[in-house]
């Protein structure tokens, strides 16, 4: 029983920390800079697609020729699992390289699309990102060489050498990266640069009038947050032990973080943390407890979206600015 509870706690924590990266990025973009982004899954998907290829780098290192994305995916996973059961260095190197590559690619793409989208704002910007992200999801699902198409790409166990601790280590990695991301974003939010971002959000013209190049700053924010969104995509794949393009959809990767972000409080990183925690826990409670509602004359599966929608609406009614709204900045004099 204790093991089951520990399992549940670890599972909840992994989900929480994974979503924390998304909500932190959202807080930076929307909460602090006013850049609406309904397509967080764009960069997460890019990160995943890169991982689909770099994950099998070890095959090249070992000189094995296999169509790891296509028909030989199973075999590739089997071969790598066998190799990784006695070799920890290669998979760690692979993961490290993946993270670097994902960061560089997402930064580059973030810069390009950030610059392209400068003329848009508000809902237009949000919808632009949404269309872009849905497009990349669809391309990933239809174009097999990218990420296995609809069949996806199974991944090897990178920590096979650690045997029973493999899953635990993966979860710890997710948690660590998330904590680092959160700490970094917190540092930014509390810095003078963070205050500048809020100024841009409140009144861009005022920021421009004091000589700040707001366009450059916006592009920097999108570039910076895209890096972490890409890494989050890699972590999602690590957790599911596979890359499935349709798992980077607007509901799971964009709308849910938005709910968490709004619930917690826009512009407040701690609020995002709290919102994420509440949402993940409520989802888990609904998931585990809905079997007690079998007395209802309806399929309990549909209770979940209704309960979640109602929870959001009630929270917005009671706490419209979120549970931990942004505190006004206090002047020292």
């Amino acid at each position: 029983m204790a093991l089951i509870i520990l399992d549940i706690i670890l599972d909840v924590m992994t989900f929480f920390f994974m979503y924390l990266i998304f909500t932190s990025c959202l807080n930076l973009q929307q909460g602090m800079t006013g850049l609406t982004n309904l397509g967080l899954h764009f960069f997460a998907a890019i990160g995943a697609y890169i991982f689909a290829h770099t994950a099998f780098l070890a095959l090249r290192i070992y000189g094995i020729e296999l169509d790891y994305i296509g028909v030989d995916n199973n075999e590739a996973v089997f071969v790598l699992n066998k190799l990784f059961s006695t070799d920890l260095l290669t998979p760690i190197f692979t993961l490290f390289l993946t993270i670097i590559l994902v960061m560089m690619t997402c930064a580059f793409l973030g810069y390009i699309f950030g610059r392209i989208s400068l003329r848009l704002s508000g809902a237009y910007l949000g919808i632009f990102w949404l269309c872009l992200a849905d497009s990349i999801e669809h391309i990933g699902m239809q174009y097999r060489p990218l990420a296995g198409g609809n069949q996806g790409v199974l991944l090897p166990d990178f920590f096979k050498a650690l045997n029973d601790y493999s899953l635990l280590i993966q979860k710890i990695i997710v948690i660590l990266i998330s904590i680092i991301t959160f700490a970094l974003f917190k540092k930014i939010s509390e810095s003078p640069f963070g205050r500048l971002l809020k100024t841009i959000r409140e009144n861009e013209i005022v920021s421009q009038s004091i000589g700040k190049n707001t366009n450059e700053i916006k592009v920097k924010i999108i570039t910076f947050s895209s890096i972490f969104l890409g890494v989050a995509g890699v972590l999602v794949c690590l957790r599911t032990r596979g890359i499935f393009a349709e798992s980077f959809n607007r509901i799971d990767v964009s709308f849910w973080p938005w709910l968490m972000f709004i619930l917690g409080g826009s512009g407040n990183l701690l609020g995002s943390l709290l919102g994420t925690l509440i949402c993940v826990v409520i989802r888990r409670i609904v998931l585990y407890s809905k079997f007690y509602l079998t007395f209802l004359p309806v399929d309990i599966i549909w209770i979940e979206p209704i309960l979640l929608g109602v929870t959001l609406c009630i929270t917005l009614l009671i706490k419209p600015r979120g549970i931990l709204p942004e505190k006004p900045h206090k002047l020292k004099y």
Partner: protein, 417 residues
């Protein structure tokens, strides 16, 4: 006097006999070892997970699964086994992320065996978690060859996709078709099916003139159908009408929109062979698109078993739900039974034990879909099929059995109609 003495002796003899007899009885009661009642290792409620890939799959499968659980619990009850199986139902809502979440939720609720998922994509996504957590998956519909791995925790009560495509090719050949125009859904099922079809067709000497993919999320297949007509006409002009057949590969839920599109193109009403998704006998095909199905001679396949269980499921499903049991529903029914019997055989509700027991149970289980014997990869080895076609019977579109496919001989026995 002697008469009196003999009566006395007889009386004494009877009394002694009685005393000895009664004494022996009592002594026997004390000395005979009564077998103490065996305390069952398992008792009470045992949760079995059911993980549907989507809401539409739940709509197709859940009815057969409900009947399966009722039958299983009734049998256990009548057998005096104090176990009741409780289904815990989850829906992945077409998302692999949600599928992983729901699987973990089921495991947390104590499930060591899970019926599902249906889609191969979902199965591929949740398999690593199931393997890691040593929880058995018994899928009634995932046919991807990528899931054929020995030593894992994934099993299925249907044979891999190759077996189904073999039947489709056999149907074409049986009708004298040696050229096919194929349209397939751009998903795991469609892509693995077309790969299997191409391989089998090549072996059997059937030419795939043209094949192209369609988006399974589309709500209208008019454009796709117009392309299909175009390619079909090209093939007919080259090879002749009697040699060209049409095949649509997709999930059961695509049948109705495809037939709706087919109704708009009279060229497809008189093909030499029109084979579609595996939904033989499906009620919604008749209800929503019966006319188009009958006009085009829509042919489909489904599992066939000459077993009382099969007939019983079919009858009860129709009585209770008013619809025919879905093609793969028979496999879902058998999945529940195999799970329950394996738990009984293992005498322990642990995935590690169950995965070892399931193959042997499957070898002796004759279910609603036939013999469910599995190979070392946990795949069902063989399945016989019933071939059905929609025809106008007294001006009413109806499913009619036109043949049976025997997996052992790989031949079709056509039924004259």
């Amino acid at each position: 006097m002697s008469h009196l003495v003999s009566k006395k002796i007889l009386a004494i003899f009877i009394i002694v006999l009685l005393v000895v007899g009664i004494g022996a009885y009592f002594v026997g009661q004390i000395t005979v070892v009564k077998p103490s009642p065996v305390k069952p290792a398992l008792s009470g409620e045992i949760p079995i997970g059911v993980l549907h890939s989507s809401a539409s799959e739940e709509g197709y499968f859940q009815s057969a699964i409900n009947i399966a659980f009722e039958d299983v619990n009734k049998w256990f009850n009548e057998s005096g086994i104090p176990i009741k199986f409780v289904p815990l139902i989850e829906n992945a809502e077409e998302s692999t992320t949600k599928a992983c979440e729901k699987l973990e939720s089921l495991i947390a609720r104590g499930c060591q065996v899970i019926i599902g998922p249906q889609w191969s994509t979902t199965s591929l996504a949740v398999k690593p978690i199931a393997d890691e957590r040593k929880v058995v998956l018994i899928s009634p519909a995932s046919g991807s060859p990528a899931l054929s791995i020995a030593g894992d925790y994934f099993t299925r009560t249907i044979p891999p996709i190759d077996a189904w495509q073999l039947v489709d090719v056999a149907i074409a050949m049986g009708r004298g078709i040696n050229v096919l125009v194929v349209v397939y859904s751009k998903d795991t099922f469609g892509e693995t099916s077309i790969a299997a079809l191409e391989k089998i067709a090549k072996e059997k000497g059937v030419v795939i003139y043209e094949s192209f993919a369609y988006d399974p999320t589309a709500k209208d297949f008019t454009v796709e159908c117009s392309k299909l007509v175009e390619k079909y006409k090209e093939a007919v002009s080259k090879f002749g009408w009697e040699k060209v057949g049409v095949e649509i590969i997709g999930a059961g839920g695509h049948c109705v929109p495809w037939l709706t599109a087919v109704e708009k193109f009279p060229e497809l009403w008189k093909t030499a062979s029109f084979v579609g998704p595996h939904v033989a006998g499906a009620t919604d095909v008749i209800k929503y698109t019966g006319s188009a199905a009958a006009k085009s001679g829509f042919t489909s396949i489904g599992p066939y078993a000459r077993s009382p269980l099969s007939l019983s499921l079919k009858t009860r499903h129709k009585e209770r739900y008013g619809t025919e049991c879905y093609t793969y529903g028979y496999a879902a029914y058998d999945a529940v039974w195999i799970a329950a019997l394996s738990i009984l055989a293992a005498q322990e509700y642990k995935g590690e034990k169950l995965i070892k027991v399931i193959p042997s149970i499957s070898r002796v289980y004759m279910g609603a879909s036939g013999y469910c014997a599995m190979n070392e990869a946990g795949d069902r080895i063989a399945m016989d099929f019933e071939i059905k076609m929609v025809k106008f019977i007294n001006d009413t579109p109806s499913w009619v059995t036109i043949g049976y496919f025997d997996s052992s001989t790989q031949t079709i026995t056509w039924v004259s109609t």
